[in-house]
């Protein structure tokens, strides 16, 4: 492996992943980062001591996943760029902007786990990102840099299609719907092979850890939340987009960095549609660290932050995205199939206001424990968590709806894109 950079990538820890201009070619990439490391014997140990966690949403320790696949033979690496979260674009943006960094990470992970093939799975409407991935893979093959076969595939535009068992099932020729675990993909995945499914951003960080080592990685962020992290900031901000921030840095700073004043906000949705609402008052006190967000019942998840302005109706927004999440269910597990539309219905009543609000709220409270933990995947649990956070953060608004009816129209602030098929 290369020694830690003589000179840090930037002076004050700034962007690492988003350091270079859009869609960089191989020459620029190599000039910036140096040749890919060849000695990867310590990679899993390095990733472990760097404290890298998955950036797809679950924040699972990457080294544990690597080690589980490495114990098995003839693995496959899947780069997960499905990014079904409507409020997140960081994975597509990163793969578009720095495809070689991501492919370096996939190659390094592939070498560490003894993989035979790399599959880059990109949500198929992200055409420019797919093209960048294909062009980068071609460039690397031509330069003799790629030891493994790299295949780029366009995945269905469905929310749960990126859940790792759903992605594996689709890659094996089925519908992009979650399957029962075990077996997990690391045990039996694509073509029955042990499969490492890692998020785009995770692999880009891994590429840098493989080059510069864990101490370098930990120069950014905090002990608990090392490194940098990508966030997608949208909603009531003047400069929506993808930002690279340090682990454990201020939540308010991330929002204000995108051009918004916390004073103008009512709440922030942290983690996207699979996330939780946090009131603007609470948000001021929090960092993006796992412990800090956890104290407010939230998690950074995929890094999507949506700013909800004062005057917008959090209940109506929650009703709308719950309806959308209900439409996104895979049609497989009864409690999710029936429970999510039922939740959306009660929330819609609550958003309309009037005397039905209290009854709807009680109905909703009764539904939550009947849905939570009862799906094959975590889709229903995510919606339950979102709704619980809405009931807490918008409690005053809900009480007001009872007396004065619905809020004045505002938004929509959260995206609910159209739905594709399952194949």
């Amino acid at each position: 492996m290369t020694a830690p950079l003589e000179q840090p990538l930037t002076t004050r820890i700034g962007p690492r992943l988003l350091d270079l201009p859009a869609a960089v070619g191989l020459d620029t990439h190599l000039a910036r980062f140096g040749p890919p490391p060849t000695d990867l014997g310590q990679l899993i140990a390095w990733v472990d001591s760097a404290g890298l966690r998955g950036r797809g949403g679950a924040r699972f320790p990457t080294a544990i996943k690597l080690a589980a696949v490495a114990r098995r033979r003839r693995a496959i690496v899947v780069v997960n760029a499905t990014e079904g979260e409507p409020a997140s674009i960081k994975d597509k943006a990163l793969l578009h902007q720095a495809p070689h960094l991501v492919l370096d990470g996939a190659a390094a992970a592939g070498a560490a786990v003894g993989a035979r093939e790399i599959i880059v799975a990109v949500e198929r409407s992200a055409v420019a990102t797919m093209e960048a991935a294909v062009a980068a893979a071609d460039e690397r093959r031509m330069a003799g840099l790629e030891r493994l076969a790299v295949r780029v595939v366009g995945t269905p535009s469905r929310y749960v299609a990126g859940e790792e068992t759903a992605l594996v099932h689709w890659l094996n020729g089925g519908e992009a719907k979650p399957t029962l675990v075990p077996p997990r993909p690391f045990e039996r995945g694509v073509s029955g092979r042990p499969t490492l499914v890692d998020n785009v951003e995770t692999l880009a960080h891994l590429a840098l850890i493989a080059r510069f080592g864990p101490q370098w990685y930990r120069r950014a962020g905090t002990a608990e939340d090392p490194g940098t992290t990508l966030v997608t900031v949208t909603g009531a901000v003047t400069h929506p987009g993808v930002y690279e921030v340090e682990g454990g840095s201020s939540l308010a700073a991330a929002i204000e960095g995108a051009g918004s004043a916390m004073d103008d906000l009512d709440a922030v949705l942290v983690g996207g549609h699979f996330g939780s609402w946090i009131s603007a008052t609470e948000a001021r006190q929090l960092t993006l660290g796992a412990g800090s967000l956890g104290s407010a019942g939230a998690a950074l998840g995929c890094g999507a932050l949506v700013a909800l302005p004062r005057g917008a109706c959090g209940v109506a927004e929650t009703a709308r995205i719950t309806r959308w999440m209900a439409d996104q269910n895979a049609g497989q597990c009864g409690p999710c199939v029936h429970g999510l539309p039922a939740m959306a219905e009660q929330l819609t009543v609550m958003a309309h206001g009037g005397r039905a609000v209290d009854h709807a709220r009680n109905e909703l409270l009764g539904l939550l424990p009947e849905i939570e933990g009862r799906g094959a995947c975590r889709h229903p649990d995510g919606v339950v968590r979102l709704v619980r956070s809405a009931l807490r953060v918008f409690a005053t608004e809900i009480a007001e709806h009872h007396h004065r009816g619905p809020c004045a129209p505002s938004g929509p602030w959260l995206p609910t894109p159209s739905i594709g098929g399952w194949r």
Binding site: C333, G334, P335, E370, A376
Partner: protein, 71 residues
């Protein structure tokens, strides 16, 4: 070894026979899908559990045995 009953929620279509046959651990939700009490099954209830598993038209239930940890 202790036994626990588990459901495959993808396979289950909510026939509800399991709750009839093994009410000690299985009740139905408002849509007719089983809610399973994860408490270990004592020996005297084992036969009921196995009957519920065998009766499921969707083959969605199974019995999982695990080492005693709770003592």
């Amino acid at each position: 070894m202790s036994l626990r009953i588990i459901v495959n929620p993808i396979a289950c279509t909510g026939h509800g026979l399991c709750a009839e046959l093994f009410p000690e651990r299985i009740r139905l939700d408002r849509w007719g899908y089983p809610i399973i009490d994860p408490t270990l099954i004592p020996p005297h209830l084992e036969a009921h559990a196995r009957r519920a598993v065998a009766a499921c038209p969707d083959l969605a239930l199974r019995i999982q045995s695990e080492p005693d940890t709770s003592g």
